[in-house]
Amino acid sequence: MEGLKYVGKRIPKKDAPLKATGQAVYIQDLKLPGMLYGKILYSKYPHAKILRLDVSKAAALPGVRAVLTGADVPNNFKFGFLKDNPPLKSGKVLSTRDEIAAVAAITQEIADEAVDLIEVEYEELPGIFDPIEAMKEGAALLHEETKSNVLKLPWKFVNGDVEAAKKESAFIAEDSYTTQWVTHCCLGTSGCVASFDVSNNLTIYSNTQIPSLAQNDFLEALKVFGLKNKRVRVIQNTIGGGFGSKLDTYAYEYIAILLALRTRKPVKVVFSREEEFLATSPRQPTITRISQGCDGNGKLTFREIEMVLDNGAYTSWGATTPSVMMVPISSLYKVPNIKYTAKCVYTNNTYSQAFRGYGNPQATFAIESCLDELAIKAGIDPVEIRRINANEPGEVTPQNFRITSCGLKDCIEEVVNRLDWKNKHGKRNGRGVGMASLIHVGGAARVYKSDGCGTIIKVDDNGKVDVITGSSEIGQGSETIIAQIVAEVLGVGMDDINVINNDTDVCPWDVGVHASRTTFVAGNSALGAAEKIKAQIMEIAAKNLGEPVEALDMQDGVIFSKNDREKNIPLAKVLRKAHYTLGGRMLVAENFYDPPNENFDQTFRGNLSVAYAYGTHGVEVEVDRETGQVKILNYIAAHDVGKAINPMLLEGQIYGGGLQGVGYALGERMIWDRGYLKNGNFLDYKMPTVRDIPPVQAVIVESDEQAGPFGAKGIGEPGLVPTAPAIANAVYDAVGVRIKDLPITPEKVLRALKEKEGQKV
């Protein structure tokens, strides 16, 4: 891959100037003629009957154009993965984020004021806030139509014989690990503007990560509302972060649609920061029972995991995260015998969603913490047990993942060397080192029937290239990556490429920004489209230059003969010749790339991804034995990325993921106390600030994935997957206490230290 001009280069993000100068148009900035402002009223209680709901005062407030309640939702419409979530609840509320009424008014202030005028009388009901309680026999049912609070989902994977392997294991480590709610903290809060035309076709400006799937969701909703055969157009403004939070449609979007339908005006609903904390769906908390064993040489014999997830009151993608948890559970390191079951349980808490890593961080926290415990029992260095069991190219894992490229061993060695493991490990002097690895899908993930993405490329008279892609830019830099790939294939400059990626009326289909798939799938799709358009260009240029196609190449927008560079023609001229010729043609190419990966079968086997991403994080910490505070002194994040299309953006993903992981490990948690969110603001939700950033070295390991565009694999999610266990392992190495409950707060560390020394707390 020598002589690459754009791929592999540190090229700044295409949209950086817009964002840096404040010219990017976010949903907050959008204003349509006649637009009204919506506001939602949420439930006061986590579980209650609504005895009386009086909106008359709100409706009478000057400037209010509509007030809706659950009674105004047509035909009992519900949305979400299990269609258990009405956009406005009536009769009964199941959580404090339940939407019970909504207002549209001519200003935001009037809408806010009107919501306060809605009178609600509740009869409070006892709630269930602990999934273990909710599973007990005789527990009150959240959804009366179900037979149990445990969701009917088939999360179970078995390989080999765990019981037999237990008997044969020389060492077994077993424990429970728990994780907390964390939220995405997107800098741009959620919002949308819904607008109907005279024929009741819907245009919705949305922050979604899944324009094509959201379009479908909204179409389904319109059908239920009685609007058949309508069109839905989804337009995305600049999106201020996603991280999975926008992978499902939300009640507020349906509320905006219903308000727009009622008022015949465009209606905007934008969340305040407090609403963003309350009413978007976080990462789900888990209770994990894990047991792992190895033989006398440290070779892993089995892994058994039972998990309980707090689903919250309604069901979104959070309930499907066990499918991705299976990836590390079955395939991180070579483990022949596996047993995994997971239960998702309804509670009167907030319902959960997708969040970067999609369950992988919770599973990896248990696996990698427990692996260190196993190493201790077996008397093996934690590095050694990971070396012995590391995945390798050519391997087929218990879930039938076909491992192609795999740089895990290189990642481990990078960490060992850069952390000076030999000299720093095992000192117990208040300073310690720890490591943890990860596997994640790196070549898309076939979670739907399709895993595809379309690209259209057209070239205009001036030699400028429009790349119209199905994939969305949510801040991750896909626009730039796609432009680099097209620039490289075509031989035109970055500035000549315009990426269009925000309008379902224009853009081809894509399943969305998830599963770290965009560079791989949208990149491959764009690569194919670029090759197709290049062939067309070369065909016309060949005629004009009187040279065979094979002799031609293009650089910087000029096509030339490789034999005689004097024989050349600018791209723009080729285009004009194509257009201004009798019987002429336009230059447009389209390409749909659907990777050759597989859906899981009923036993959860199948090659989910074309390629798998690996990585190892190593961390050196200092623990203050008197205060319990953990300080990160050094952080190495080594990632097998196949090939870095843009090392600068890639490092950004690693830094960003790593820091999000540090927050997850050391401080972030949503405090839901008996159904009430106690810290729904940035003062009390302790997301790390710029001052808390540890020194992170992002190490790029390139394993050249043959199926990836220019050898690349996905990197969107991996950065935060192994962070928490790496830190937990380092804390153990520093002071000899293991924190098994995230986040690792100073209180927990100090309490563990005191208990270890036999002191009372």
Binding site: E109, E626, K686, T689, D692
Partner: protein
């Protein structure tokens, strides 16, 4: 956010007249980092805001005798002031840790104190630096010791319409050192889980204390102190103040008494920490558990005293950089 009148008086008298004319509905505003938050949260809906930003006679730092700081001086101005860094270090410690740089550029010490949150960072330093609050009212000026100024959570000894003009502190010699430790979960944009300020005045018979060649090291203060074991450094005067662990910022007076007149040693400071911990009344909240806060009072009181002592012994800031701590 409702609508309100906004006034920009240029003198204390004019501001007080506007307040009197507001019929009890006026609110003074200075940096606005507390008032605006309350308004946006709809916890405060003033009839009018009376800005103190243009009032020149509230914006002064006078070092001619002791230290006098106007109430409209920003945290950043305090944090960067050479004399405050040198002689009133607890105050610059605290001012430099409030919120973020952007907040410190507008938020004023007067606002921090008058808001009277138990977590106000500058309160503990003022308590240990024997500050008095200079208050302007209709009948002229009066001075109230800072310890009597805080009445309870968000309650201070201000009459209707009165304005805090500033804070006055006595002069301290090079034998006095002070420190403030803010215990937080992150490095910026955080309130203290607890705060501890300490001031000590050290006496050594016959000799000058201070940096000597042997001491000009980057060694830990615990080790440095050991070199003074034979010389009997005596703690002549001491103040200890605690934030967040009581309804209002408080002095740990029993701990102070136990420290005064004693020959200093790290072991003594451990004991003082324990006394201070027994004096406070921390509560469980989402921001911290009571047992942890109490235990941190013990640990951080010791550390704050050590740091204050260090600032007397090694006054050159190049040899006690932040990383020592």
């Amino acid at each position: 956010m409702g609508s309100f009148e906004y006034y920009k008086p240029e003198s204390v008298a004019e501001a007080m007249a506007l307040m009197e004319g507001s019929g009890g509905k006026g609110v003074y505003i200075s940096g606005g980092t507390d008032v605006m938050v309350l308004i946006r949260q709809r916890k405060l809906s003033p009839g009018c805001l009376i800005s103190l930003r243009n009032v020149r006679d509230l914006d002064y730092v006078d070092t001619s005798s002791g230290l006098a700081v106007g109430s409209a001086v920003t945290h950043n101005a305090i944090a960067k002031n050479d004399l405050i860094q040198k002689r009133y270090t607890a105050l610059s410690d605290a001012a430099s840790k409030v919120g973020s740089l952007q907040i410190r550029n507008v938020a004023t010490m007067g606002g921090n104190i008058c808001n009277a949150a138990p977590s106000a960072d500058t309160a503990c330093p003022l308590l240990v630096l024997d500050a008095s609050v200079v208050i302007a009212g209709k009948s002229g000026e009066r001075a109230v010791p800072i310890d009597e100024f805080f009445l309870g959570p968000n309650k201070v000894a201000l009459g209707p319409g009165e304005i805090v003009k500033g804070f006055a502190m006595p002069a301290f010699s090079e034998k006095t050192g002070s420190a403030y430790i803010k215990h937080t979960r992150r490095q910026a944009m955080d309130l203290p889980m607890l705060g501890v300020a300490a001031r000590v005045t050290i006496r050594i018979d016959g000799n000058e204390i201070g940096c000597r060649d042997a001491l000009c090291t980057i060694d830990n203060i615990s080790n440095v102190l050991k070199r003074f074991e034979d010389e009997k450094l005596v703690c002549e005067d001491a103040r200890i103040a605690l934030g967040v662990v009581a309804p209002r910022p408080m002095r740990a007076k029993k701990a102070e008494t136990a420290l005064k007149g004693k020959v200093i040693s790290e072991g003594l400071f451990e004991e003082i920490g324990e006394i201070a911990a027994s004096e406070c009344q921390p509560r469980d909240s989402i921001r911290g558990e009571a047992w942890y806060r109490r235990d941190m009072v013990r640990v951080l009181t010791k550390r704050a005293i050590l740091r204050a002592v260090d600032r007397v012994i090694r006054p050159d800031d190049t040899i006690w950089p932040e990383r020592l701590w």
